[in-house]
Symmetry: C2
Amino acid sequence: MAKLYHFPLCAFSRRIRLALGEYGREAELMEERLWEQRQPFYALNPAGAIPVFVDDDETVVAGTEACGEYLDETRDRDRTQTSLIGETPAERAETRRLVAWFDIKFHSEVTLNLVYEKIDRRYMRANQGGGAPDMGAVRAGKENIKYHLDYIGHLIEDRNWLGGDRLGHADLAAAAHLSCIDYLGDVPWERNDAARGWYTRIKSRPSFRPLLADHLTGMPPPAIYADLDF
Amino acid sequence: MAKLYHFPLCAFSRRIRLALGEYGREAELMEERLWEQRQPFYALNPAGAIPVFVDDDETVVAGTEACGEYLDETRDRDRTQTSLIGETPAERAETRRLVAWFDIKFHSEVTLNLVYEKIDRRYMRANQGGGAPDMGAVRAGKENIKYHLDYIGHLIEDRNWLGGDRLGHADLAAAAHLSCIDYLGDVPWERNDAARGWYTRIKSRPSFRPLLADHLTGMPPPAIYADLDF
């Protein structure tokens, strides 16, 4: 069976887990704790980053962009599935613009400030940068998330999904990051009803269920996290 | 005519400039100084990042991944050009793994430490983070580049180009970053003959010529920069 090397609260891995569900692909989940620097993992991805997807035929697909594009390219063995990136070059450009918005901009402004500070640094040793969260970073993350919610609300005013008419990787990337922040209880959903409505829709999809079942030892999510009627 | 919003020593923009040359596409180069925060530019890319490609038909393609994939998708209007990403899903995954190696790992370990410190911060005001280079960062960048050169040398031992048999975006990404460092005279070419041999080949391509003509006012490159026999 195919395998996905991931970590439960890694937003990049979560996008690929959501994509697996949407494409109807199964994969065994292999939890990879990057800070343990396991040598066999470096053989799969010398860059030492997750996610890494290993397909049934042992093809190794390393890195978020590579995984997302690979799953889309190999989806339609029977030519029935719609692309989650888009049909025309212009649609595909818009999807990738928004994926970069979340994977680069949201990640550096929100996810790193909240998830890295509150989760990753708990697991790391002091000489790896571990320790208590930097509260300045946490405050910045909580401030920055506001305009990202507003941007999602702005996009969804004119569109069915973030990238256009159909659900796609723009939605998966946004939901992957937000779901990590939601696990911490740090998304101010009351701020933007349109953004909350969009998240309710994507949270209700079958592809989302495995994410809602994630549970880090010693750090359970708030009740709202798995509640579809939050 | 199509336009590319770029900055001469932005490695991401340079990959797309090289790609334009390899695909035989023409575009007017529009220099964008991000720290000036021009409002009309934010209308093109709300994330405020370069490169942005505006096609002949006004399609806006924002961000490095979007530009690279778009140019590849629109290359073969006459179905004669080979993909610079790869033909099979496995080849394409390998190209994208290596693009991420250079655009994420090399960028954070080398390019930011050298180009951002020595170039970008010269242009920025003090309240934007401008000022003299942080010499600790510069030293880290000069140290880190060594193993990246060795990794290029290691890849090229068994391959014609970095991603496989044919030149592709893995080469363009690597050359884009290295060419910025080379403009500063900070690539220790004597360290790895195989990496130097690969760079000699790509530097000699017609697509590279516009990059070799770049010249920042008050900060000329060393003679070696444009020398094909360096």
